[in-house]
């Protein structure tokens, strides 16, 4: 009987043992003889942990819902879930003391070096002009395996240590030099820019380190139009230079006289105008905010007719318009009056010798304090020998300190993260693991002190320290370095959009996107929200520009503030311009890139890279180019070699088609047809539009929580995760699931995990 038959098969399946499920649905392809994809699952389920490396691969496929593949017999999802849980439980039960993986000696990366200099010497430096860029591996540039040493890097360290120690100490022998800061040509300068004086428009704000008390010269260049004249001379504008918000210079640009002179000789008139903008003033040593801008005129005098509310410098042929800042150069020091009082000097000179008798004692004290921060541990007498000999090679007290600091900054004890203790890691090593994870920098005095006393492993103290560190502003590094790479935010700076299709896309928007997502990520961490809020939060951070881009009403002013998002479509990361822009092309959206991004970073099931020797696509017989992106992708997927992966990637990406290549909402696609945002998830779930996609992702919250934990753990450990790390990952996910995946429970879970606390001994 048909009914009975169905009942029987249901009964069988409900009680199907994991072995039976594997036998029935897996080993047909994955057996000894025919190990498809190099996987043999016909090893029995009596000892799953012994074959954990293979079974972890199976678990990943099962979790993602990609196995058994489309077209093959496939049981109900609950049955597959049952198998997954069985496999995970078997492996995890055996992993009482999991292999914590190797701890590899590695150098600081460029971002960590810069943050360390900031925290050791109270000095902000642009590391990109000092050291070569680092290579990312497993998605992050703090990966031990890719942080190699090269001659160019060492030369960088030598030159950087010289410049930094000189600047930090305030070496009176610093030679005058010019630093030039350029404004990106696509920065809109029609409106107020935050940080500059109220009532101004355009320009740029620069944090500049003035090496000494002395006189400095400020030179500004203005943008030229295509006839090599300074732009916007038809009316008079007032140009303004400020230092820390105080006006130091004001000059007129434009008006009939300038316009006439420009008509006679553009270069001569430019020289004359730029001379008028130049100013020399005494400035005290240390970091100061230098601003150049224009006093804002009424809107009636504005001249951007293309999209006047955005930027008027879009049209390069534009002969009128308004003056725009192109670059500012700061030169000096001239007429030096002293080393001054800078944050760096206050940080370094914790004592002053009263005479020659206590000079050495004071020098020792200073060097020990800097060395303790740089070496991340208490300092011994032996540690002081080398820096003291450099101190003594200096001609005088301060030059001696400068030499000693220079040595400390080139020491391998500073440049490398060295862990010498046997397993588990020592308290001081744990302090460094913590600070480089949460701050991308060296531990502070409090952390070194607690670790030095051997108290850091006390669970209550460890938790208190983690919470303190997360509340500290230095944890912003998680947004810039972790989220910046996990979400590809760092790609934004190189993103351009076709100016004809997206005339409004400018540097203001680009930087705004990044700021929004960084502030959003910060808020999730600092306010200890659920990690799921990254996908579902009903709030974000915008200024007037972003609000207009997103269609959020009633936001005025250039500063970023928290707003509630109206409606459900733009909630969470998948509605943010940053993510939507870095996964698009200059001219159009890319469901492929968006699908790939989701698979890699949200679903945790990356697709393999494209094969070599792609067979040529069949000629387009119709002779008509498919018009919409969807049609073109469908054409592409007719090729089986492409389809095996694109069948997975593309349909997910289509659900975000309502967002254009800059993340703006649209109703019509590139081909002017109404947007079709219907997509399909890997496991076959149909989703239509971003809200449905987010909802479907949240239906299986452990998938996203696992991917997020994996990414965070890869970053925390500075190495790629291996199969033996998966029990630790699952422990973090399971524990935090009872706490709605709160950020603190995930972060603390990682900090408490075996790979973070332990290190491998001997050869495993």
């Amino acid at each position: 009987m048909r009914i009975a038959g169905t009942l029987i098969s249901c009964a069988v399946m409900l009680h199907a043992s994991p072995s039976e499920v594997v036998r029935q649905y897996c080993v047909g392809c994955h057996n000894e003889r025919n190990s498809t994809a190099g996987i043999n699952l016909n090893t029995g389920l009596s000892n799953v942990p012994a074959n954990a490396e293979v079974w972890e691969k199976a678990i990943r496929k099962l979790r993602a819902g990609t196995m058994p593949p489309k077209g093959m017999p496939r049981p109900d999802r609950t049955i597959l879930d049952g198998l997954t849980v069985f496999l995970e439980t078997s492996i995890d039960a055996a992993a009482v003391t999991p292999d914590p993986g190797p701890s590899i000696l590695r150098r600081l990366n460029r971002a960590e070096y810069g943050a360390a200099i900031r925290d050791i010497l109270s000095l902000n430096v642009d590391v990109s002009a000092l050291l070569p860029a680092d290579d990312a591996n497993h998605g992050f540039d703090n990966n031990a395996d890719s942080l190699r040493v090269s001659p160019a890097l060492l030369e960088g360290y030598l030159a950087a240590s010289r410049k930094i120690s000189r600047l930090a100490v305030g070496d009176p022998a610093v030679a005058p030099a010019f630093s030039t800061y350029r404004v990106r040509p696509d920065l809109g300068q029609d409106h107020y820019i935050e940080g500059l004086p109220l009532g101004t428009r355009g320009g740029v704000l620069v944090e500049h380190n003035f090496p000494l008390d002395g006189t400095y010269v400020f030179k500004t260049r203005l943008a030229l139009n295509t006839s090599a004249k300074v732009r916007g001379l038809d009316f008079e504008h007032q140009f303004l230079v400020t230092v820390d918000g105080v006006r130091i210079h004001q000059a007129a640009v434009g008006g009939p006289a300038d316009e006439e002179a420009a008509a006679v000789s553009p270069p001569a008139s430019e020289v004359k105008i730029l001379k008028r903008l130049e100013v020399r003033v005494p400035v005290s040593a240390g970091p100061h905010l230098v601003g150049v801008s224009f006093i804002r005129k009424t809107a009636a005098q504005e001249d951007g007719y293309l999209q006047p509310w955005l930027r008027s410098n879009l049209d390069t042929q534009e002969q009128r318009g308004i003056p725009l800042v192109e670059s500012i150069s700061i030169g000096g020091p001239f007429a030096v009056t002293g080393s001054g009082d800078t944050p760096s000097r206050r940080k370094i000179f914790v004592c002053r010798p009263t005479g020659s008798s206590d000079e050495i004692a004071c020098a020792k004290k200073i060097i020990a304090a800097v060395a303790r921060r740089a070496y991340r541990r208490p300092i011994t007498e032996a540690d002081l020998e080398a820096p003291l000999s450099f101190y003594q090679s200096g001609k005088g007290f301060e030059p001696g300190i400068e030499n000693a600091i220079r040595f400390l900054l080139t020491s391998p004890e500073f440049l490398f993260r060295i862990e010498r203790s046997a397993q588990p890691v020592s308290d001081l090593e744990l302090a460094s693991r913590l600070s480089f994870f949460l701050w991308s920098s060296v531990p502070d005095d409090e952390l070194i002190q607690i670790a030095g006393q051997g108290k850091l492993k006390d669970p209550a103290i460890l938790e208190k320290q983690v919470r303190r560190m997360l509340a500290d502003s230095r944890s912003h590094a998680l947004a810039t370095n972790f989220a910046g790479q996990w979400l590809y935010l760092r790609n934004l700076s190189g993103v351009t959009r076709d100016t004809k299709l997206f005339p409004y896309f400018d540097d203001n928007l680009r930087q705004g996107f990044r700021q929004e997502t960084e502030m959003f990520f910060d808020s999730i961490v600092r306010e200890d929200h659920s990690a799921l809020d990254l996908l579902r939060a009903d709030y974000t951070f915008v200024n007037d520009r972003l609000a207009r881009h997103y269609g959020i009403p009633n936001v005025r002013g250039n500063y970023f503030r928290r707003v509630t998002i109206p409606g459900e479509q733009r909630r969470g990361l998948l509605g943010q311009g940053s993510v939507l822009t870095v996964t698009s092309y200059a001219t159009r959206t890319s469901p492929v890139l968006r699908g790939k991004w989701l698979l890699d970073n949200v679903l945790g099931t990356p697709v393999p890279p494209p094969p070599p020797n792609i067979p040529a696509l069949a000629e387009n017989h119709s002779g008509i180019t498919p018009r919409s992106v969807r049609e073109r992708m469908e054409e592409h997927r007719k090729n089986p070699a492409c389809a095996s992966c694109h069948d997975i990637m593309d349909p997910i990406g289509f659900s975000l088609e309502n967002f254009d290549a800059t993340g703006a909402w649209r109703f019509r696609s590139e081909s002017n047809a109404p947007v079709d945002a219907s997509g399909v998830l890997v496991d076959g779930t149909n989703v239509n539009g971003p809200a449905a996609l987010t909802k479907a992702l949240l239906d299986r919250p452990e998938t996203f929580a696992t991917t997020f934990t994996e990414k965070l753990m890869t970053y925390a450990l500075g190495r790629g995760l291996e199969y033996y790390d998966m029990p630790s990952v699952r422990r973090v996910v399971h524990t935090s699931s009872g706490n709605d995946y709160r950020m603190s429970s995930i972060l603390l879970g990682i900090v408490r995990s075996a790979p973070f606390q332990m290190k491998r001994t001997g050869n495993r």
Partner: protein, 442 residues
């Protein structure tokens, strides 16, 4: 304190820096009082250069129609016509080792080595590249055995290089050892300061170099102590570090000898120019300057990066480079891609022109150089590695005869060309990667 204040500022316009430089957009105006010491009419110094472009070429528009001398320049090669007497187009070559999944990660590290790099799980490892083999032999007398330069910030390519491979593979063409990839610098100012130091009087320069030396001495002692307390794997990293320290010490010794010789140091460029064209030209200027001053004899330059999404509005190419490289045989896209490839060739011609107009001994720098230009992909639509677009330019100090289109048997390993080039520098190798022999009559 400062990082707290920063929270309240708008990062969009906040630029930070520790710049020490003077504005000067191009190095054109500099005439340094520097010449290669060793270059005499009797024994000219040989230079070796490599210029790499991503995404292959439209081969029908690259390969000249006829073989041998006096061939007609193809649309992509046309900018090289003024250098006809120095140009050898080499056809028929293939790079089998690049034939693997993750093609954009495979192409850069195999181009000059013919050795396939390891997959992700096996650690970051690739083959030693011929520029570095040459640097070990002909670069030891100069302060910099080799230069490695690029354009386009690779930190903006997150997510695209990780298909099973480390981003290292996509970021550099040069491997000093299988585990020492050399970073390619994109900032002209950093390159400039490496080459010429920070300026100042000769006495100041000597004092700085002496301090560098004593710092390195102390670092060597400290690293030596550290090494003893470390395990085998970590100890190996420290050994590598010490090897690099010794290399820098060698450079400093050479620099000390040369401080008296250096005339007025040219003014430094201010950083990465906004215009891509200015950036490329500046990087070429620096290479010419380094050859001219005999600061290096080997230079490797990645003119654009794999997967680059740059648009080239200057040649009416508004679609991103990588996207348009998957042209699907669409004639319009093929045209666009051809324009980009021709544009790259124009940039290369700028370099050649500079080399030709820079006197060196009894001839020009071009006479005494061998510059290999190419991509390690053939059709970007098919992701294949045969036939490769390859041009060799320069006199090679009498070793290379131009005005030729040499066609070798199909699928001849590219490494045969690399080995032949080394041979012309008197560097005899039994094998380079998967090479099977030398190229006849080159």
């Amino acid at each position: 304190m400062s990082f707290i204040t920063k929270q309240h500022l708008n990062r969009r316009t906040l630029l930070k820096g520790l710049g020490v430089s003077v504005a000067l957009p191009l190095l054109d105006s500099m005439v340094p009082a520097l010449t290669a010491q060793a270059a005499t009419a009797a024994k000219p110094v040989k230079r070796l250069g490599f210029v790499y472009v991503p995404h292959g070429a439209i081969m029908e528009k690259f390969t000249p129609a006829v073989e041998g001398a006096d061939f007609a320049f193809s649309p992509i090669l046309r900018p090289l016509e003024p250098f006809r007497d120095r140009v050898v187009v080499v056809s028929g070559l293939a790079h089998k080792t690049a034939d693997n999944a993750g093609v954009h990660s495979m192409s850069p590290p195999t181009w000059l080595s013919g050795v396939r790099p390891s997959a992700k799980d096996a650690g970051v490892r690739a083959g030693v590249t011929v520029d570095q083999i040459a640097a070990q032999k002909i670069g030891q007398g100069t302060q910099f055995p080799s230069l490695e330069l690029a354009t386009e910030d690779h930190s903006g390519l997150i997510g695209s290089c990780d298909g099973g491979y480390s981003c290292t593979y996509i970021n550099t063409l040069s491997w000093r050892t299988p585990t020492t990839p050399l970073p390619m610098e994109i900032n002209p100012r950093v390159v400039f300061e490496r080459l010429f130091g920070e300026g100042g009087t000769p006495e100041q320069r000597v004092a700085r170099l002496q301090q560098d030396r004593s710092i390195l001495d102390a670092v060597t002692r400290q690293a030596g102590h550290l090494k003893m307390s470390l395990g085998a794997q970590d100890g190996a990293t420290m050994t590598q570090y010490l090897d690099n320290v010794r290399e820098i010490e060698r450079r400093i010794q050479l620099a000390e000898k040369q401080t008296g010789r250096q005339g007025k140091t040219p003014d430094a460029p201010i950083g990465i120019p906004e215009s891509f064209e200015d950036h490329i030209k500046l990087m070429f200027d620096l290479q010419v300057l380094a050859f001219q001053a005999d600061l290096t004899r080997v230079s490797t330059f990645m003119m654009a990066r794999e997967l680059s999404q740059r648009t080239y509005p200057q040649v009416n190419a508004h679609d991103p480079h990588h996207s348009v490289s998957h042209h699907e045989n669409n004639p319009e896209k093929i045209e666009t891609l051809t324009r980009i490839q021709n544009y790259h060739m124009q940039m290369f011609a700028y370099y050649l022109d500079k080399l030709r107009t820079t006197a060196d001994g009894d001839g020009s720098l071009l006479d005494h150089s061998m510059i290999l230009y190419g991509s390690n992909m053939s059709s970007s639509n098919l992701h294949n590695h045969f036939p490769l677009p390859t041009v060799l330019v320069g006199g090679g100090s009498g070793q290379l005869k131009g005005n030729r289109h040499m066609k070798y048997a199909n699928h001849t390993p590219m490494t045969n060309l690399l080995m032949t080039m080394l041979g012309k520098l008197d560097i005899q190798m039994d094998k380079v990667g998967d090479s099977t022999g030398m190229l006849a009559d080159l």
